[in-house]
């Protein structure tokens, strides 16, 4: 047992008190910072939810069967988004058909085949740089190259190609991440059983990476569906009162690609057009189109997040 003199005990108590005060002070600042963070977060979230809520309240009432099955009109109350949603759908078809296979191919090449060297380094820097190019620049590329350079015109095909280029980096990056996350033993096990590189890729890597690739593809498409600037630049029309010829026909060979070469409009352009008009009625129609767009992008992203969540669970087992 150590003996404690009265004096030394007193000193110990005072230093403890000082230390306690310092700790208490630091804790108070901690609380200030943490609360500040929460408040800022709450303000930002509330602001955005208010804005979206306002849009939904204004626009949702306008969405009915007639709105989805009418062409745009000079009269705001008769205007609808038929040509816009059909246009968006067809453009997305082209985009998905091009961007998904090419993006997956590029991602697989970079992860599995590319040898470390200047070429793969160049491609790598290039992909991350492309992801940062403003979307309107893709529109200028398409205008100069596809519309006038290749004389393809202002068509659904060109719009789909433009958006495919735009979302290519997203698909490539997510494919690479998905492939990289596959445990090495899966590959090595397959090689050990005598599979060649192609068999390993086709039977093991692609199936294992599928959820990750799918997530990237969906996120990319959700981005493409809301893109406005590049499509305005290639000269999409804002007033379309006809539909492209249907892709399925009654006569042989039953599938027609005439729609690819048709003029078109898409949902975000329709919304842009209506926002810019002075009449209240068109603003309501714009809000309704906004609700449709947000519903589409949120549900696509929701699906992507859900797939990723399930994927994470899968790896834990």
């Amino acid at each position: 047992m150590t003996t404690i003199t009265e004096g030394s005990l007193g000193a110990a108590v005072t230093t403890d008190q000082a230390a306690l005060d310092a700790v208490r002070k630091a804790k108070q600042k901690d609380i200030v910072l943490a609360t500040g963070g929460m408040i800022v977060m709450a303000i930002a979230m509330t602001l955005l939810l208010t804005l979206i809520g306002d849009l939904v309240i204004r626009g949702a009432a306008r969405i009915d069967y007639g709105f989805l099955t009418s062409y745009p009109s000079r009269l705001p109350e008769r205007a609808g988004v038929l040509s816009a949603w059909v246009g968006s759908l067809l453009v997305m078809l082209v985009t998905a058909f091009l961007a998904i296979p090419i993006g997956i191919g590029a991602g697989l090449y970079l992860e599995e085949y590319a040898r470390k060297g200047w070429l793969s380094n160049l491609i790598e820097i290039n992909v991350s740089n492309l992801a940062g190019v403003p979307s309107i620049i893709y529109g200028l590329l398409a205008l100069g190259l596809f519309v006038y350079g290749f004389s393809l015109g202002k068509t659904i095909l060109v719009a789909g190609m433009t958006l495919a280029l735009l979302i290519l980096p997203i698909v490539i990056v997510s494919t690479r991440e998905a492939v990289r996350a596959i445990p090495r033993i899966i590959k090595e096990g397959a090689y050990g059983l005598g599979a060649d590189q192609w068999q390993v890729m086709w039977n093991y890597i692609i199936p294992a990476a599928r959820p990750g690739i799918l997530t990237g593809a969906i996120v990319g498409l959700s981005r493409a569906i809301g893109e406005t600037a590049p499509i305005i630049t290639i000269g999409a029309l804002t007033f379309i009162a006809f539909l492209p010829p249907p892709p399925v026909t009654g006569e042989f060979p039953f599938i027609s690609f005439a729609w690819l070469n048709d003029g078109f409009t898409v949902l975000p352009i329709q919304m842009f057009n209506w926002v810019s008009r002075p009449q209240e009625g068109f603003h309501t129609a714009a809000a309704a189109t906004g609700v449709v767009l947000i519903a589409l992008t949120f549900s696509l992203n929701g699906i992507a997040i859900w797939i990723r969540y399930r994927l994470r669970k899968g790896y834990r087992n």
Binding site: M41, N126, G132, V133, P134, G144, T228, G290, N301
Partner: protein, 283 residues
């Protein structure tokens, strides 16, 4: 098969080359007619007048002003939110907020344009005296909110990349959480946080629809954010909506300003890319 995959990967390089090629080819003739100094330092942008002038400064000041306003919103808010998420929030909170932020990133930009023009502007007109119906202030603020999720998620990644041993060292020396956050985590993640802001700035500069809707289409050399002024991107949209004759000087002018925009964002992206790589290598 390997060749096919290689071609897919090579396509991305081709796209970059094609962008540079198209921008330069179509602005070549423009710069043959308009001297570069007149373009860069001219104060009048009147492409469709009888005697057209092509001084890009009005477009450039509007672009930089809105992007600057966006940064005024995104930097402080983004930093506080990132610190909160990375250092204070419980994992459950973080796991809820991060996907929510991702969802917000997905909102189409034209919808933000609607918010700026039809919701925020009428509201702020009651508070800010002299605010015009079309102005730079509101789109600037909305741009800031728009890039916030991106800025937060990149800087939060950088903060979480700071190894825990450094934090624990701080606690061992008797630091409180906020001291660890400000004196250890932020300096440790500095290059990553800077990268987040620079990449956010690059997005704000290249953003189109919010500005085309709410900042107006009238080139206007002003430093007053309560007034409207066309940005580079808004000008490209305006010209594309009208019927511009292919090959005319007005047609070439959109490629000239596009080239300028591309160079500016490329600069930001290269700096951001370099800084991001630096923080990844650091730990």
């Amino acid at each position: 098969m390997k060749t096919f995959l290689f071609l897919c990967a090579a396509l991305s390089v081709f796209v970059t080359t094609a962008i540079v090629f198209v921008l330069i080819r179509d602005s070549w003739e423009f710069f043959a007619n308009i001297p570069l100094t007149d373009f860069l330092f001219g104060t009048m942008w009147t492409p469709v007048f009888a005697n057209p002038q092509f001084g890009v400064l009005p477009l450039l000041t509007a672009t930089l002003q809105t992007a600057g306003l966006a940064m005024l919103v995104a930097v402080p808010f983004g930093l506080i939110m990132a610190i909160y998420l990375s250092e204070y929030a419980r994992p459950a909170v973080r796991e809820t907020i991060k996907p929510a932020l991702e969802m917000l990133e997905a909102v189409p930009t034209v919808v933000y344009g609607y918010f700026a023009l039809l919701v925020m502007t009428p509201f702020l007109q009651q508070i800010v005296p002299g605010l015009k119906g079309i102005n730079l202030l509101v789109p600037g603020i909305i741009l800031g909110i728009m890039i916030l999720p991106y800025v937060v998620s990149v800087s939060e990644d950088a903060m979480r990349a700071v190894p825990n041993s450094l934090r624990e060292g701080g606690y061992g020396l008797g630091m409180a959480k906020w001291q660890v956050a400000i004196r250890i985590v932020i300096p440790g993640a500095f290059s990553g946080i800077t990268a987040a802001f620079i990449l956010g700035m690059s997005r704000a500069v290249g953003e189109t629809m919010v500005l085309a809707v709410a900042a107006g289409q009238n080139p206007n050399l002003t430093w007053d954010p309560r007034e409207g002024a066309a940005t580079i991107t808004a000008y490209i949209v305006q010209m594309s909506l009208g019927d511009v004759a292919h090959g005319s000087i007005a047609y070439q002018s959109i490629f000239a300003v596009g080239l300028l925009l591309f160079v500016i964002t490329l600069l930001f992206n290269i700096i951001g890319f370099y800084l991001r790589r630096k923080f990844r290598e650091a730990y």
